[in-house]
């Protein structure tokens, strides 16, 4: 194992490498060059003087350079995979366990096969260039693409969450011998891989700020509690954090929830999602990409939006924004970077007639992400917060490459969907054994119901304000583990009714409507008021 010092220098080297190509780097360079003219910069102490100058200047802008750099580094630390051996090959950084890599590989093959066969069946190319008049038409309709009613009846989603669940259920570690008879010590759930998940004492430590003694938005801002007890003070702190523009502070702050009015800015700060002219320009470039080329996945996106978000009582209004974001997302090659730490690998397509020749391989779709049924629900809640398409886009993309991708790729990461499923089942088995046993007996494995909630990060299942409070904590703890805890808490809450059902369908019915649930009290009670 490496010692701490080596680990740190590896990390620093990685971050420096990453930031060298960024906008911030060029801005700093420019600024440094400009300041050479200034009298306080002496040749003898050039390095120190320039550093001093950069630290102090920039205050007239919203953020000073030091904070900007700090935020950029913090962002990289957030997404960086855990430090590994300097000799580790790239694929180990994506996913250290071989059997997981293999499973992800075969899953990807299946998806690609499905996509290709749809392509052949419908005789539609994966991509084609749009004729000029079609481009013009699309441009004129850009703000109301939802009014288009293309014939989507032949398209079907490439896969749905339940297909993915079947794959996870069949995951096995070849080195793990689970041939013992099932007993109370063995795992009752569907996931049969031995990953380490936290138990409640460990979760209490991780989620300390959600404890009974700390104020929470989502609990201590209801009408019964006077505002000056927690709410107004917390809002005041939030405003200060925004003025300082410090991502790390914001991340810590948001663990106790975020006031509605500050949320849009705070999330952008935590995600380090900027809306500089360069970002707007980049978005416009993606938009022209959409206009120039039609991709097969575009139809999948249309279909998904029409099937899910448009049918939602609250998100139907944002239909047009969803197209504007998702169509651009498919063409954004910046997203490819996240495959360095994602166990998934982007599907490759070959130019006609050049199958197998790497020089003629092209990533398809350009961002390497094939949408599945329900994908658009990742974007829908964000429409509540952001007005300008470019800002909405940047925030969504950042949320995807930090969190959402983990919900549909097979990996051993603690926030990956496999771990979340196992976490959920363990929590249930440990703390609600009677309920779990009963549900198993009637053929209603709890994960079959909870899986779809977690894959979508509860979007579309909870009321919007509750969902946003939940996502506050996802951002604050930089982890999706809270989804598993919430899923278990929901089962705990409805345990009495669930004990009375006698079929999977009846169990589904009890848990069909989560729109009245208040997320924070449920989490608090489950984590901190459960008798151990």
């Amino acid at each position: 194992m490496m010692d701490e010092g080596t680990e740190l220098s590896v990390t620093i080297a990685q971050i420096v490498q990453k930031l060298k190509g960024s906008n911030l780097h060029s801005q700093l360079e420019r600024q440094a060059k400009e300041c050479l003219q200034r009298p306080e910069i002496q040749l003898e102490d050039l390095k120190e003087d320039v550093k001093e100058f950069l630290k102090k200047s920039g205050k007239k802008h919203l953020k000073c350079w030091e904070t900007k750099l700090q935020n950029a580094v913090y962002r990289e630390l957030n997404v960086l995979p855990p430090p590994s051996h300097p000799e580790a090959p790239a694929e180990h950084i994506k996913e250290p366990l071989a059997y997981m890599r293999k499973a992800q590989g075969s899953w990807e093959k299946r998806i690609l096969k499905s996509l290709n066969s749809m392509c052949t069946e419908l005789s539609i190319p994966l991509a084609r260039k749009r004729p000029g008049n079609e481009q013009k038409e699309l441009l004129s309709k850009w703000n109301e693409m939802g009014t288009d009613e293309p014939d989507l009846s032949h398209f079907r989603p490439v896969y749905a969450p339940k297909d993915f669940l079947e794959v996870l259920i069949n995951l096995r570690n070849p080195n793990y011998d689970s041939s013992d008879q099932p007993s109370s010590k063995s795992h009752w759930g569907l996931i049969q891989v031995p990953l380490k998940v936290k138990d409640i004492p460990e979760l209490r430590e991780s989620f300390a700020e959600l404890g009974l003694n700390s104020g929470q938005l989502g609990i201590d801002d209801t009408t019964q509690v006077p505002a000056d007890m927690f709410e107004s003070e917390h809002a005041g702190i939030g405003r200060k954090v925004l003025i300082e523009q410090d991502s790390a502070a914001a991340e810590q702050y948001i663990r106790q929830g975020c006031p509605n009015e500050l949320r849009a800015e705070l999330w952008a700060l935590i995600l380090n999602a900027t809306n500089e002219p360069e970002d707007i320009l980049y978005y416009e470039q993606l938009k022209s990409g959409v206009l120039h080329h039609d991709l097969l996945v575009d139809n999948l996106i249309y279909k998904d939006v029409k099937l899910t978000a448009s049918n939602d009582d609250y998100y139907f209004v944002f239909e047009d924004y969803l197209y504007q974001v998702l169509l651009c997302f498919s063409r954004d090659t910046v997203v490819l970077e996240h495959f360095n730490y994602n166990s998934a690998t982007p599907p490759k397509s070959y130019i006609q007639g050049k199958l197998g020749l790497e020089d003629y391989a092209v990533v398809y779709p350009p961002n390497g992400v094939i949408p599945f049924h329900g994908f658009s629900m990742y974007v829908a809640p964000l429409c509540f917060l952001y007005n300008e398409p470019s800002k909405l886009y940047t925030v969504f993309r950042e949320m995807y490459v930090r969190y959402f991708f983990r919900l549909h790729s097979i990996s051993s990461f603690s926030s990956g969907i496999v771990s979340l499923c196992l976490q959920f089942e363990s929590l249930l088995q440990t703390h609600l054994p009677q309920l779990f046993y009963h549900l198993r007996e009637i053929g209603a494995q709890p994960l079959r119901i909870a899986f779809k909630w977690m894959v979508r990060a509860f979007s579309g299942y909870l009321a919007t304000d509750q969902l946003l409070l939940l996502w506050d904590r996802v951002l604050g703890y930089n982890s999706l583990e809270i989804l598993a805890v919430l899923a278990a808490a929901v089962f705990a809450f409805r345990a009495q009714n669930l004990m009375e059902v006698t079929s999977l369908a009846a169990a589904e019915a009890v848990l069909a409507d989560l729109s009245t649930l208040k997320v924070m009290p449920l989490l608090q009670i489950f984590l901190f008021a459960t008798i151990m």
Binding site: T147, T222, P259, E261, R263, N311, E319, Y321
Partner: protein
């Protein structure tokens, strides 16, 4: 000849003893929708039909018009409309009353105060104000106007126009097809003259709001519920729940003929070709309030809702002296409000019989809550003290003067520093509130 019905004592009738809550309330209800369910489920309330006497009647306005003047009601009896509610709810009369009130305010309190009444777009009654209308029309060329029939509801007969030529055609049409409306109904004239006169239907021409606030490119209007239990002194309650009704299609001024875009009444949307009754065209008021706060900040939204309060108060004040006050009467109004892009609220219409038919399960539950709480406020059972500031989801908005959230002595501080007691779009904590407020009705399990 008018007939006076004598109130005869029927079976089950008990004269209310002093200080005791009434145990059996006989109600009559001609509407077959949510109100009927709510009344039937209320403990201790018994439905009576036909000619039996009643203590409570949820009637329709037609019945009221024909019978109100001829019946005798005992002190405790309640009925859900005011005799001449149309002073507020008929578009031409409302405008007339508002204009008159505005002039009064200008004389007595100055221009600034009067400007607070500028929440309705320029409106003219046709045909009688035709010349005034043409003057205004010519002053703002290219603007869009909306023509609405005075007496009809659910968006019927409404159209938009930009050229005077468009209404020339309408005028010719209207004269040819004459509507038969009794004078009493049409212009609020209380004349008993029942001559069979055919008259041209009255319309109002109103400046159309061309820059409505859009969400997702769609236009919407707000439906808010205000309960008035007395006009003199004015006592009005505001319900916390309400909803925003979205247009099915994206907003654009270029298609005036597309009826569906501009009219957001649910009744009209239901006939639009791609209307999907399963698809929600409504947002709860809480959702809207949160959305606006997230986009514009709490302060601006607070200011917006204060202005909306102002619309209710001033519209009620404008008809206060005209409405025939009667202690038997209460009325639940449905206010239609439109927001423009500057977040200024505009009054579109006041409905005396807001639709109580539910368009979805969520809508049904909202209307049940609303009607149950209306009955709590009316308090036939006599369980309340009359000093309450909140009853279920209703907040007392005006009680012969502004009502403040805090329990302070009004003389101590200037009224401008107090926060109003309204919570439109806030959490509706009616269950806990009612549990604290009401003792269970006889024969009812503990709430």
């Amino acid at each position: 000849m008018s007939k006076k019905t004598m109130v005869h004592k029927g079976p089950g009738y008990q004269k209310k003893r002093e200080g005791e809550p009434r145990s059996c309330i006989r109600f009559k209800c001609t509407l077959i929708n949510t109100i009927q369910d709510v009344l039937r489920q209320r403990a201790g309330w018994v439905e009576v039909k036909d000619d039996s006497e009643w203590d409570f009647y949820w009637c329709d306005v037609g019945w009221l018009r024909e019978n109100f003047d001829h019946i005798y009601m005992e002190e405790h009896v309640r009925i859900c409309h005011f005799r001449n509610h149309y002073e507020l709810t008929r578009k031409n009369l409302m405008v007339k009353n508002l204009k008159r009130y505005r002039k009064l305010l200008e004389r007595e309190a100055g221009r600034q105060e009067a400007a607070k009444c500028d929440f309705f777009p320029r409106t003219f009654e046709l045909p009688c104000e035709y010349h005034l209308f043409v003057e205004e029309f010519k002053r703002s060329p290219g603007s869009t106007w909306i023509m609405k029939p005075v007496a009809r509801s659910q968006g019927k007969g409404i159209f938009l126009f930009r050229k005077l030529k468009d209404i020339m055609d309408w005028k010719k049409c209207a004269v040819r097809v004459l509507y038969r409306i009794p004078p009493l109904f049409q212009d609020g004239n209380r004349s008993e003259d029942q001559k069979d006169e055919t008259q041209v239907e009255s319309y109002v021409a109103q400046r159309y709001i061309e820059n409505p606030y859009l969400i997702g490119g769609r236009k919407f209007d707000l439906r808010v519920y205000v309960l008035v239990t007395s006009y003199v002194p004015l006592k009005a309650w505001l319900y916390r729940d309400g909803f925003a009704r979205f247009s099915l299609t994206r907003f654009s001024l270029s298609c005036i003929d597309d009826h569906y875009v501009h009219l957001t009444n649910v009744a009209i949307q239901k006939t639009a070709p791609d209307y999907d009754p399963e698809k929600g065209c409504k947002w709860q008021m809480q959702q809207l309030r949160r959305y606006l706060s997230a986009r514009h900040g709490a302060e601006r939204v607070e200011a917006l809702f204060r202005n909306i309060d102002g619309i209710f108060i001033r519209s009620l004040q404008s008809v206060q002296k005209v409405i025939i006050n009667d202690k038997h009467c209460f009325e639940l109004y449905g206010y239609d409000i439109l927001l423009d892009q500057a977040l200024k609220p505009w009054l579109i219409e006041v409905n005396a019989s807001p639709s109580l038919t539910a368009s979805s399960q969520e809508d049904y539950e909202l209307k049940c809550r609303l009607l149950e709480d209306t009955l709590h406020v009316v308090d036939m059972e006599g369980r309340l003290t009359g000093k309450e500031k909140q009853i279920g989801g209703f907040d007392l908005m005006w009680n012969d003067g502004p009502v403040s959230k805090d329990d302070v002595n009004l003389d101590a501080l200037g009224s401008s520093t107090l926060t109003a007691n309204t919570h439109l779009g806030y959490v509706n904590d009616r269950k806990t509130q009612l549990r604290q407020l009401l003792k269970p009705l006889p024969g009812q399990k503990k709430v």
